[in-house]
Structure formats: structure tokens, C-alpha cells
């Protein structure tokens, strides 16, 4: 049944026309050209992201052949999302993230709620990390049964999250070939320490160590995160491939531990990755992306426009005014820049009149789309640090 559905989706995507007209502010969708522009901006600003070709037989012709999708590897995920069970008390911990950068008084409109800001893990969530019974079961109950029947991917045992829910690996299948005599002990090999030793003054902890202090279980997983362009929904789509602390690929059930309870099993599913012949990855279904992005963009855009109008309304004559604007433009961040003019980067100085300025106001630029998109995705996978942009 699922295979049929996937076929249907593939055909539907194939048949749907390529979006040509840019209307990202009206409905939150973007054209492939805008996806490339936004991707170029993302890779330029945050070099952890890069373009990939993918499987050439799966290349989409509406995207440049060397810019089929975006990828960033080894994104850390320190804790399970299930250890961040959201309670009423946490509302106080909500933090407004400012996109404006400058933090000035008129940045209020640029803000975006980040939940769990600075929240110390505690209570039930931290005591039972990794258990998945907080995730609402599907009505028929068959789903959760199905999940439990999946065996642990790591296979080789080890400390796994959520012990009760997972079936121990079939030990018979692992070849019994430990060869401790293969090489002598080596004094110059740094052994993984069994107890966390916080070196004085440095406080750097190896990710393979499990920190149990303060009831704060740390299991550092890493994720490879991909962003593709979905032609049917005309939005970017995010894909996740996870590894546990021993660098073993995560199973679907383990990946769902890193998805916030509101989204696991509903909008996050395992699907064939479109740029590979056989790879399967977890993906956030993009059916709601356009709506959410539209709302976020609307809010941000109105503030950006207001800001730009305010700037253009201010007396700005002669070269001095132009310089001031340049400065402000920089301080404001990157998305407030105007794209008119030859290259879209240079603000014409000297000869502007306020009227011209008003015509030029275009609000948020589409380049910024993916940066906003990542902030939205970060709310679905709260513990995966996909949003490297906050480091700015």
C-alpha cells in the first residue's frame, strides 16, 4: 500500500508543473531558481552547508546539475527530544529570537518564539530519555506494534536509549571474531575514558562518554541533514540520516526520538530519498511548509518593509546619507538589502530621492528563505542543531 502511495507521489511530482512565478511572499512557495538563490546564500553564509549532485540518474532538470540538493554532515544532537517534554512551566522559558541582529528597540517584529530556551533537562523527561511512550499512538495501535518489532540497528549491543522498548540485537549473527591479540596494547593510544573527566580549565568532554552527572544523560548523536526542492509542494524539504554515539546508523524508531512529539509519526516519515536510487531517510512532510513559511515571512516582511520605509523616509541627501544607509544595512543583517540596481548589493548613493526609495522597498529577500526555513525545522527537531544560524 505504501509502495503504491510512493509511486503515486512520484508521478504526481513528475506531472506537476515547475513553478515559474515568484510569489514566495503571497503563499510561502518558491521557484527552483529561488531555491538555488537561497541555497547559494546559505552555503555562502554558512559553509557547513554545501551543494550536492546526488545520483545523476535522479537529477532534476529544473535545478542546475551540480546544485541538486543541500547537505550538512555531522550535525550534533545532544539529547533526545523526548527529554524535552513541554510543560506549562516551560512557557516562561520561551525566548524570542531576534532575526534583526541588532537587538534594537524596533526589532520587536522580527522575533520568533524559541521554546525550551536555556532549559535544564530535569524531571521525568531526563530520567527516562529515549523512551517513546510520550508519542501519541496511532488510533489502530498497529503502528506502535510495528515500531517495536524493528530491531536495534546498532546490532552490536551497547548502551541504547529506551531499553524497554527495543529488542536486544540478535547476538548470534555477530561473528565471534574478537582478536585481542591482533595487536599489542599501545601506550600512546588515547583510551576512551569510562568516566567523564572534565579536564580542569577546559571542560571538554568526549562525545563517546556518557555524562550522568545531574541526572543529565548525554548521548551525542549526529545527523546528516539534506534539503531538497519538492516540486509538487514548491517548498524545500528536509531529510535526516542519523548516527548514534558509536556512529551506527539510527533506525526509524530511534530517529523519532529526536522529533518533537507533535510531529513524530504525523509529519515525519521514512521515505526514499529523491536523489539516490535506494537510500531511505526520515523526512518532514512538506504539505504544511508553505503555510508556515507564509506566516513567518509575512511577519518578518512587514517589519522589514516598515524598517526600510522608515529608513528611506529619513532625510537622506548627499553622500553622508548614503553612507549611513550602508551602515544600517549591514547592521540590520542580510535580508533587508534591496535587490534592485545592477547587482542588488550596492545601494545607489547620492542621487536617491525619497520617492525612488519607496519604490525600491521590497521587504525580505528570497535569499533568506532557507535560513528562515531552518529555524522552522528546528522547532520540529528541537535537539538537532540544524539551525547553525543562531551562532551568528
Amino acid at each position: 500500500m505504501h509502495a503504491l502511495q510512493q509511486q503515486y507521489w512520484a508521478v504526481r511530482e513528475y506531472l506537476s508543473p515547475v513553478l515559474r512565478e515568484s510569489k514566495f511572499k503571497e503563499h510561502g512557495r518558491i521557484t527552483p531558481e529561488e531555491f538555488v538563490a537561497a541555497g547559494d546564500f546559505l552555503t555562502y553564509k554558512f559553509p557547513v552547508w554545501s551543494w550536492e549532485k546526488g545520483d545523476t540518474s535522479k537529477a532534476r532538470d529544473y535545478l542546475p546539475s551540480d546544485k541538486q540538493y543541500l547537505v550538512t554532515r555531522g550535525v550534533p544532537c545532544l539529547r533526545r527530544a523526548t527529554s524535552l517534554v513541554y510543560t506549562d512551566a516551560d512557557e516562561e522559558a520561551e525566548r524570542l529570537l531576534s532575526f534583526g541582529g541588532s537587538g534594537g528597540p524596533n526589532d520587536g517584529e522580527d522575533e520568533w518564539v524559541e521554546t525550551h530556551a536555556g532549559r535544564a533537562a530535569g524531571g521525568d523527561g531526563a530520567a527516562n530519555p529515549g523512551e517513546i511512550h510520550d508519542i501519541p499512538d496511532d488510533e489502530d495501535g498497529g503502528l506502535s506494534g510495528g515500531m517495536q518489532s524493528l530491531s536495534v540497528g546498532s546490532g552490536l549491543g551497547g548502551k541504547k536509549a529506551g531499553g524497554a522498548e527495543e529488542i536486544p540485537p540478535d547476538l548470534d549473527e555477530i561473528p565471534d571474531m574478537e582478536e585481542e591479540d591482533l595487536e599489542d596494547g599501545d601506550e600512546a593510544t588515547a583510551a576512551p575514558r569510562s568516566t567523564p573527566v572534565a579536564t580542569p580549565g577546559s571542560r571538554v568532554i568526549d562525545s563517546s562518554e556518557v555524562e550522568v552527572a545531574k541526572g543529565n544523560l548525554l548521548q551525542v548523536r549526529t545527523y546528516d541533514v539534506m534539503i531538497t526542492y519538492d516540486k509538487y509542494y514548491q517548498t524545500p524539504r528536509i531529510w535526516l540520516l542519523g548516527y548514534d554515539e558509536n556512529r551506527t546508523p539510527l533506525t526509524p524508531s530511534q530517529i523519532f526520538q529526536d522529533v518533537s512529539a507533535d510531529h513524530a509519526f504525523k509529519t515525519v516519515t521514512i521515505e526514499p530519498f529523491p536523489h539516490s536510487a535506494s537510500l531511505q531517510a526520515a523526512s518532514v512532510h512538506p504539505c504544511k511548509h508553505a503555510n508556515v513559511m507564509k506566516k513567518v515571512i509575512e511577519r518578518m516582511n512587514s517589519s522589514v518593509v516598515a524598517d526600510q520605509l522608515a529608513k528611506s523616509g529619513a532625510p537622506s541627501g548627499g553622500k553622508e546619507g548614503g553612507k549611513d544607509k550602508d551602515k544600517e544595512g549591514k547592521k540590520k543583517g542580510w535580508f533587508g538589502r534591496k535587490s534592485t540596481g545592477s547587482s542588488g548589493t550596492a545601494t545607489p548613493t547620492g542621487k536617491d530621492t525619497p520617492q525612488q526609495e519607496e519604490e525600491e522597498v521590497e521587504g525580505m529577500r528570497v535569499d533568506f528563505y532557507l535560513v528562515v526555513f531552518l529555524k522552522f525545522i528546528a522547532s520540529i527537531v528541537p535537539t538537532i542543531e540544524v539551525d547553525s544560524t543562531t551562532a551568528m
Binding site: 505504501h2 509502495a3 502511495q5 559553509p47 554532515r73 555531522g74 550534533p76 535544564a120 496511532d138 510495528g146 524493528l150 530491531s151 540497528g153 546498532s154 546490532g155 552490536l156 549491543g157 540485537p169 549473527e173 555477530i174 561473528p175 574478537e178 582478536e179 585481542e180 591482533l182 595487536e183 599501545d186 600512546a188 593510544t189 588515547a190 583510551a191 576512551p192 577546559s202 571542560r203 571538554v204 568532554i205 568526549d206 562525545s207 555524562e211 545531574k214 543529565n216 548525554l218 549526529t222 546528516d224 540520516l241 548516527y243 556512529r247 546508523p249 526509524p252 524508531s253 504525523k266 521514512i270 539516490s276 536510487a277 535506494s278 537510500l279 531511505q280 531517510a281 551562532a391 551568528m392
Partner: protein, 325 residues
């Protein structure tokens, strides 16, 4: 004095690599178990701040193989160091178990040592070996990596400990090194300070580059995949072996820079590179002979043994159908 302990490489195999191997096995290799070339890559060590405790968490000293591992003319991703190795895929689990691992390992180590002694070529210092058995019906992959590293006898020692590179070199110098490194990216490189200005060069120019430079202005450097403050990454071992083998008269003390700032720090972060003064006693081995080598990767239990990747949950169509909504 404390012995320098090196942080071993940890293999990170992307699922795409197993998919690629599956295709290769079915369409190209078939029953051949010949050794084939393979590529991997590593990046400078990274750490992440845990927002809840304020600790820095060092991410592993990872070396990663992906879908492009079998591609000829492999290009490492930007900011990464490419590594070549050899790959041997066995047809049965019995073959895999009974493989003469010591012979395979020694073959790689000999090859590395020969390129050092005969050609003074540092490009094979990061070589690796991967043996595997792919159970294609069950989507299970058994594999074992080895990263041969030459054992130095006596061991290297560090008297005053590792410190931040910024304490030894100024932030300006590091910036200059960073700029020059970006123009000449290399897993191993040399730094000399002339008139307070750092200059960098490749490791094979050791003699010319350090001629007439006082030892206190000489630094050997490498891209360090480790993020632990007290443990330099695995590649340093072979770099040190290389320098001892070829320039034994001038390398009994070495100033070492563990370069972890392949991506220069942004405003919110600081320089992560480490610096240490390493010393070694008189050589015991006979000159020119290959030192013993270590480097089989340990499994999840910390024992010398193979690892397994079970991709059934992500590949088996029946299982995927079960969890699909």
C-alpha cells in the same frame, strides 16, 4: 613526563556508502574479492557547546566514507582532508572471519613506510584499510577499519602540556596561518616565524624551509581531527614517524601545532588549535627499519573486533511498509 596520547580515528560510514557497495557488488565486483581503492575524508575536530550545562562536547575524531568512496578522482568536500585506502570485500562471512588480517595490515603499513623512506612522500601517511562482508539479503554489513600508525619507541613525551595555540602564537599569526592555509590546504604543513610573520610550506620541503631558521621559530603542523584538548589526532603519529625517519638529527624536540581552525573562527568563537612541545629520547630501533604499527579500530564494546551496520530498518521494503503512515 607524560606520554603523548593520540586520539584514534573513528570510522563513520554513511548509509549511502553501503548502498553504493551493494550496487558495486551486484553489478561490478560480483564474486571478485580483489583489493580495490577507496577514499574517505576527515575534517578538523569540532566541539559543540551544550547549552544546558555549558560544557563543550568534543565530537569524535571521525573519518567518514560516503557514496563517492569508490569514485576515481575523489574530491574531498571543502574544508576536509581526503584519504585514500584499500578495500577488500569478502564473499562469505567465513572468509571475512578467516582473513589474514595481520598480512593485510602489514601490507598497507609496508607500503606507507616505503613511500616515506624511498620517496620522502608524505601523501600516504593517512592510508587506511577496510575489510567487509556484505550480507545483501539481510541488509547487514560487517566491516573493520584499520588506520595504521607507526609506534614510536621510546614514546613521545610532553613536558608542559598542551595549550591553546593562541597562547603561543598571537591571534594575528593564527589569522595569517589561516589565510595561507586556505591557499595551500594540506593535511600536514610546516610553519616558520620570520620577522614575527608566519609562513607555511609543505612537509616535504622540511630541509630547505627550516634551513637557517632557529628551532624556536620552527613548527610542524597538521589538520587535527581530534577536538579533545589533551589528545592530538591520529595523523600526528605518522607525521612524527616521518620526521624522525628522515630528519632524525633535528627532530628530538618538536614544536607541534594541532590545526583545528580549518574554518576560521567567527565572532562568537575563538581559536581552537592546540600547541605543544614534544620530546623524544634516543631511538632504540635500527635505523630505517619499519617500526611496528597499530591501528585496528575497536568495536562498540571497545574490543578489537568488527563492527556491523544493520540497514534493514532503513532498507528492507517489508519493514519500511510496516512503519509507513
Amino acid at each position: 613526563m607524560p606520554i603523548v596520547q593520540f586520539s584514534p580515528f573513528s570510522s563513520l560510514v554513511q548509509p549511502a556508502f553501503w548502498h553504493e557497495l551493494t550496487t558495486l557488488k551486484i553489478d561490478v565486483l560480483r564474486l571478485s574479492d580483489d583489493v580495490i581503492p577507496i577514499s574517505a575524508s576527515y575534517t578538523a575536530g569540532r566541539s559543540i557547546k551544550d547549552r544546558e550545562t555549558g560544557n563543550d562536547i568534543a565530537l569524535g575524531c571521525n573519518i567518514s566514507v560516503g557514496a563517492d568512496a569508490f569514485v576515481k578522482g575523489f574530491q574531498a568536500p571543502s574544508h576536509s582532508v581526503g584519504v585514500t585506502g584499500i578495500f577488500k570485500n569478502f564473499n562469505t562471512i567465513e572468509d571475512f572471519k578467516q582473513a589474514d588480517k595481520t598480512a593485510l595490515f602489514n601490507q598497507v603499513a609496508d607500503e606507507m613506510w616505503e613511500s616515506v623512506i624511498k620517496h620522502k612522500d608524505p601523501s600516504l601517511l593517512n592510508r587506511f584499510l577496510l575489510i567487509a562482508f556484505a550480507d545483501l539479503k539481510k541488509y547487514k554489513y560487517f566491516y573493520w577499519f584499520a588506520f595504521p600508525a607507526f609506534v614510536s619507541k621510546p614514546a613521545w613525551e610532553i613536558s608542559s602540556g598542551w595549550k591553546s595555540a593562541e597562547e603561543e602564537l598571537s591571534s594575528e599569526s593564527l589569522k595569517a596561518i589561516s589565510t595561507q592555509f586556505a591557499a595551500l590546504p594540506n593535511p600536514f604543513f610546516l610553519v616558520r616565524i620570520v620577522n614575527n610573520q608566519p609562513e607555511i610550506s609543505t612537509i616535504d620541503k622540511y630541509q630547505e624551509f627550516f634551513a637557517n631558521v632557529p628551532p624556536s621559530s620552527q613548527i610542524v603542523a597538521f589538520v587535527d581531527p581530534s577536538a579533545l584538548p589533551e589528545n592530538p589526532g591520529w595523523p600526528l603519529r605518522n607525521l612524527l614517524a616521518y620526521l624522525r625517519a628522515l630528519h632524525s638529527s633535528t627532530t628530538s624536540t618538536l614544536r607541534v601545532l594541532c590545526w583545528r581552525d580549518v574554518e576560521p573562527p567567527t565572532n562568537s568563537s575563538s581559536w581552537k588549535s592546540r600547541f605543544g612541545l614534544l620530546e623524544i629520547g634516543l631511538d632504540q630501533g635500527e635505523a630505517g627499519a619499519r617500526p611496528s604499527a597499530v591501528g585496528w579500530e575497536k568495536n562498540v564494546q571497545g574490543k578489537l573486533g568488527p563492527r556491523m551496520a544493520d540497514l534493514a530498518p532503513m532498507m528492507d521494503p517489508t519493514r519500511l511498509a510496516d512503519q509507513a503512515v
